[in-house]
Symmetry: D2
Amino acid sequence: MGSTWGNSIKLSIFGESHGAGIGVVLDGFPSGVPYDEAFILREMERRAPGRNKQSTARKEADLPKVQSGVYNGKTTGTPICAVIENTNQHSGDYTALAPQPRPGHADYTGAVRYQGCNDPRGGGHFSGRLTAPLVFAGALCKTWLKTQGVTVGSHIQSIAQIQDMPFDDVNVPVSQLETLRAADYPVNNPRALEAMLAAIEDARGEQDSVGGVIECAAVGLPAGLGSPMMDTVESRLSSILFAVPAVKGVEFGAGFAFAALRGSHANDTFYLDGDTVKTETNNNGGMLGGITSGMPLIVRACVKPTPSIAAAQNTLNVQTGRVEPLSIHGRHDPCIVTRAAPVVEAACAVALADLLREAKGYA
Amino acid sequence: MGSTWGNSIKLSIFGESHGAGIGVVLDGFPSGVPYDEAFILREMERRAPGRNKQSTARKEADLPKVQSGVYNGKTTGTPICAVIENTNQHSGDYTALAPQPRPGHADYTGAVRYQGCNDPRGGGHFSGRLTAPLVFAGALCKTWLKTQGVTVGSHIQSIAQIQDMPFDDVNVPVSQLETLRAADYPVNNPRALEAMLAAIEDARGEQDSVGGVIECAAVGLPAGLGSPMMDTVESRLSSILFAVPAVKGVEFGAGFAFAALRGSHANDTFYLDGDTVKTETNNNGGMLGGITSGMPLIVRACVKPTPSIAAAQNTLNVQTGRVEPLSIHGRHDPCIVTRAAPVVEAACAVALADLLREAKGYA
Amino acid sequence: MGSTWGNSIKLSIFGESHGAGIGVVLDGFPSGVPYDEAFILREMERRAPGRNKQSTARKEADLPKVQSGVYNGKTTGTPICAVIENTNQHSGDYTALAPQPRPGHADYTGAVRYQGCNDPRGGGHFSGRLTAPLVFAGALCKTWLKTQGVTVGSHIQSIAQIQDMPFDDVNVPVSQLETLRAADYPVNNPRALEAMLAAIEDARGEQDSVGGVIECAAVGLPAGLGSPMMDTVESRLSSILFAVPAVKGVEFGAGFAFAALRGSHANDTFYLDGDTVKTETNNNGGMLGGITSGMPLIVRACVKPTPSIAAAQNTLNVQTGRVEPLSIHGRHDPCIVTRAAPVVEAACAVALADLLREAKGYA
Amino acid sequence: MGSTWGNSIKLSIFGESHGAGIGVVLDGFPSGVPYDEAFILREMERRAPGRNKQSTARKEADLPKVQSGVYNGKTTGTPICAVIENTNQHSGDYTALAPQPRPGHADYTGAVRYQGCNDPRGGGHFSGRLTAPLVFAGALCKTWLKTQGVTVGSHIQSIAQIQDMPFDDVNVPVSQLETLRAADYPVNNPRALEAMLAAIEDARGEQDSVGGVIECAAVGLPAGLGSPMMDTVESRLSSILFAVPAVKGVEFGAGFAFAALRGSHANDTFYLDGDTVKTETNNNGGMLGGITSGMPLIVRACVKPTPSIAAAQNTLNVQTGRVEPLSIHGRHDPCIVTRAAPVVEAACAVALADLLREAKGYA
C-alpha cells in the first residue's frame, strides 16, 4: 500500500518535499555489486533541477547519504537505505496556495485521501522531488544490470509536437544509449533538439508549460523473463512507470499505433541469427505473451505538461466556494520532460532488475 | 509470480486452452454480495466467441461451475472458485504449428520461459480463452461495485482507423454505460459501427486482421481512492490491463495527447457543484497524484490486431533453421477488439473493487 | 488476505466442507516436474479419514481432479489447479448446531468475520477438510524437493502425554523419513505407539478427545536459504503451520526448552566434516539468524485436542442467550494428531519449496 | 524478500550494527495519529542496553530522527521514516572473530547467504540492535491502537526455570499492562523477579547466559479480525515474532500444553456477558479459526540464551579447518530476555495494527 514496490527487489520510498529528508530502502538487492558513487551521482545530476536554463532554478544538493547495505565499496545483500536531506526548502513559496487546490496537482486528492493531514508544502509526498530516490535506486539497479549484460537508456521522443528520431527497435547499440546518457539533453537528432528548446522557451515566454514523450530501451535482456497473464513484463513496467508523477500513458513497441495496423504488418517474423532467435521487425517491443523475446525492449511514457505554470489560472477557493484566479509563484520548469528521461529510465531499470533477480534467484 | 493479482481481493487464474478446465479463485471478496448468475452469464456471453459473424466460429459453452464461496445465493466472504470445463477443443488444429513459432504469439517466449514444458495446444495458458475467468471475476466485482454506487462500462473507441465518439469525460451517464453493455457491439455512433464492421469484413476478405482501442469509464467512485508514488490508481489499473493478451498501450484521460498540450490547457479547473468538488475539464481522467478525484475515471487500452491470420506468413522453422511460410488453420477472429471490450471492463472492475475494498476494510 | 500464501510459489486454497468442491491453485511451480499421481494419492490417503479405527468414519474419496498445469505427465510451469469434489456431505448432521456456536470451533468468529454469510455446514471454509488440498500441494512440492535432494518427513512426537523417541537432530536418515511415511502411524517407538493408541481409545470411551505434537524434519537443504529480520525461515514456516487448523504452538530445534538452557549448552559448536560445515549439536534446528545452516531442519507443531467431542458440552444458545448443553453428533475423530502429521509435513514442504524456488530462480 | 513485512501497514527495516545508521520505513500508517515522542522514547528506552546492571554496558543513544511522515505533530498518512545513527561502534571488538564463526550466531549462515559480502561487524544486519527500529514502529502502532481501544503489554513469564505469575487469560486489566510497561523489569510477582535477577547474576558469574519466555497480551481487540486458512492471526503474529532474533518458539493460549489436555477441558465455553459473547476459559488465547474472538489475545515467545558468552567456546576456525577455542570479548548481556519484552510487544503491536488497519480500511 502506497510507496512500496517490487517482488524480489523491494523498494520503499519515503519523504516529503519540505520535510527533513527523502530517500529509499532497497530490500533484496544482490550482494557484491560495486557501489559506484560517481555513476550514481551523475545519474542523479541528470535529474537534478537547475542544471540548465530549461529547468527550475532551485539548487538541490541531492547527495544521497548511504545508511546501510554498502560495505567495503560493495553491496552487502541486506537492505540499502539512502537519505537525501532537504536543505533548501522555501516553504513560504507554497503556503499561499493552501485555500486553492492547484489545478493538475494532488492538493485536493491528497487532502481527501489523508483527511487533511498530509504535508502540503511543495506537494509533500506527491512532489516530483520524490523521484530523486527513485533515480538513486535506478542507478544501483543499472550497475547490477550492467554486470548481467543489460543496458537501459532513453531519449526524448517528443516535446510539444516536435519528434526526435525514434530508436531502431531491432538494433539499439549500447553506444547510442551511453551517448544519450552523457548528453545534456538525450535527443538523437540535434535539429529536433534545437526545435524542442525553442518550444520550451516559447512556453516560458508565455508563462506556460509543455509536455512530451520519453522513449526508453533495454538491450541485452535474455529471452524468457516474465510471466503470462497477471504478471507480464508490461504489467510490471507500467505499474512503476505510472508511479512517476505526470506520466499518463505507457505503450510498448508499436503501442497505440497497433490500432491502425493489419495483423500481417503487425506480426514480427522470427528468424535465426547465428544461434539466436530474433524477429525481423519488433512491433511487440521485445515482449510476446508478457515474456521477453530477447529483442530490444521498447517502451514509451507520456509526460503531461508541468501543472505549475506562472500564468494565473482559475481554480476553486475552498474558503469562499468560488472559482478565483491563482498565481503560482516559486520555481517551476516550463518543461519537466528533459528531467523525466532519467526518471523513466530508473523506473525501467528497477523493474527489470526485479524481474532478472527473480529469474536468477540468489545467484 | 504469474497468474495471481491483487491486494485486498486476490485473483488467481488458471487453465490452458485445451486442458481439462480453466477458472479463477477470488480471495478476499466481500461477503453477502448477491450471486447474480444471469448477469454473470450475460457478461461472459459478451466475451464469448461465435456470437456474431465477426468472431471465431468456435462454440464455447463457458459455463462457470462455482465450487465454493457462494451459499444461499450470496457470497460467503471465503474464496470463490469457478471452473469452466474445456469441452470443445480441436487440438488437431494446432499440433501442426509446433516447429514454427507463430508470429505475434507467445509460442517462442513461452517455450523459453518454461523450458519447453508448457502446454502448446491452442496457446495453452497464453490463450485468449483465459480471459473468460477474468470476465467472470469482473462480473462479480461489478455486482459489488454496483452496491457501492460504482458503474464500469466501455465502448470501442476505434477499429482500424475508424473512431467512435469518445465518452464525455466530465459526464458519463450510467444509462449510456448500460446501453453499451446491452448492445451487440458497444459503439456510441451507429455510423462508426457500420464502418468498423466493414473494415473487419475487408480484413477477413484479405485473410488479415485489424486492431483497435477500447475506452473504459468508471463513474460513482469516491474521491480519495489510491496512493501516491508506487501504488497509484494508474499503476494498478495498467498492471491488470497489460494482463489482457494483445493490449500494448494504456493511457488515462488525455493520455498521449498530453504531449502536445500546453499546461494552461491541460490543467483541470476545480469548482464546486453543490457540495461536490469537480473539475470543469477532465484531462487527468479522474485521477490526480495517483488518487481518484471523484470525476469519471477514463482509461483507454490499445488492442493489437489478432496475430493469428488466415493468410500465409513467414516464420522460422526451428527444425530446419530457415524462415518458411506458415498457414494457420482453425478458428480465428479477424478482429478481437469487439470481444476485448468486456475483458477490459472486467480488468478495470477487478482493480477498482480491489482498491475500494482496501479503502472500506471488512465493511 | 485469507487463503493465499507464498512468494515464488503461490498457493490459493478454496472450498467449503459441504460445497461443490474444494481445491488449490499453485502458481509459480517449476516446470518439468513429473506428476507422480501414485505418490500424491498415497500422501492424500495418509490424511484421509476412515483409514483406521482412530479416525472418523466419513469416507471421503478425495480424488484430486487436475484442471491445469500438467501436460504429458509433467508440470507445465503455469498454474496447477486441482479440484476435489465433495460427494459425501451429511449436512443434516450439522444444521442442529446453528444456534449454539461449538466450543473450540470457528462458528462464532467466522460468523462475526463474514457478517453471518459464511457457509456454516461442517465448518465451511474452516473445516479440517480444507487440509486435503494442502496435502495435495505438499505432495507436489515434495516431488520437486526430492529432485533437489531435499526430503521432508515427520512423526508423532506425542499424543496425550505419551512421548515418542524424537529425531536425532544432527542425523535424520532419509530412510527413517521414508519408513515413517509408509507406516500406518508415523511413530518411531512401537511401544509408544501402543500407548498412544490406548490413550486414544480411552478418550473415545469417555466421549472425549486428545491432542499431541508433530515433529517434522527436512534434510538435504543447502545452507544459506532464507533471510534475516522479517522473512526468516522460521517466519515462513510458522506462518503456514499456523494455517493448519488446531495448531496452537510452533517451535524450532530446542524450542521452548531453550528457556531453561544456559548459553554454553545451547550454542551449537561448528566443525568441518569433509568439506561441509556442520554443528556438533543442533539446538537451533537447522537455522541461524533465520537462514538455513545445512543441518537438519527440525520443527514441532502442537495440535490441540479435537474440539468436536461426543460428550455433551455447555455453550451459549444465541437464541435464548443462555448457556445450554450441546451434543455434537456426526463423525468425529477422538484424535486428529495421527492425520495431522501429513498435513504438517505438507505445510513444511510448501514453505521450503517456496524458499528454494526463490533461491534458485527460474532454473 | 528479507526485511519488509506487512499488508496494510508495511514495515521496511534497514541497517547494520556498525554502519552509518539503522531505521525503519512504515508505509500505510494511518494519518492524523499524534506523534507522541515522549512515549516513543520511553518505549525505546525499555529496550536500550546499559539501562541496568543486567544488560550490556554499551550506551546507545538510539534517538530516532524522523525524516518524513510527521507534520504538525501528527502522522501524515504517507511513509514515516526514522533513522537512528550509529554513534558508538567499537568495531575493533569484533574483527578478531572473523575466522571463527560464533556458535549460535548468524556469522556462518549470513556469509553463505550473501556470498561473504555482508557486513560482519557486530553481526551486521543480524544484530539485535536492529530491534530498535522495530520498537520505534511498535510504539507508533501502540499509539494508534490506543485510539482504537486496544492495549498491548507483556511480562517476563520465565527466566532460566523461574516462573512469573501468568496473565489471567480471561481478564487482563489495562492497568496491569501499564504497570508492567512502567516497571524496570516487567514481572508480576516480585519474588519471582528477585529469583530471576539472582539467576542472571549466577550466569554472569559463570561467564554464561540464560534464556526465558515472554508472555504478551492484547486487550480491546474486536471479535472478527483475521482470516481462516493461510492468513490466520496466529500466522501473522508468529511470522513477525520469529523475526525477533533469538525467538525459537511461539505459542498461543494454552499452546504446547494443549498436547496434554482432553477436548472437554480444552474447549472454551461460550456465554453472554451483557451484550458481549465471551468464553469462560480462554485456552484458545483469543483466537478461534484464525480469527479474534474478542477475548484477550495471549501469546508467548521463547527467547534463547544470549549466544555471546564470556566463557571460551569451541568452534571451527575456517582458516585452519580445526575446532579451536574462541573467547568473545566486548559487551554482552548474560540475559536478553529483559530487553526482549518490549521487542516482543512491539512485534505484536505492529501485527495487530496491520490487521486492524486492514479491517477498518482508510478510515
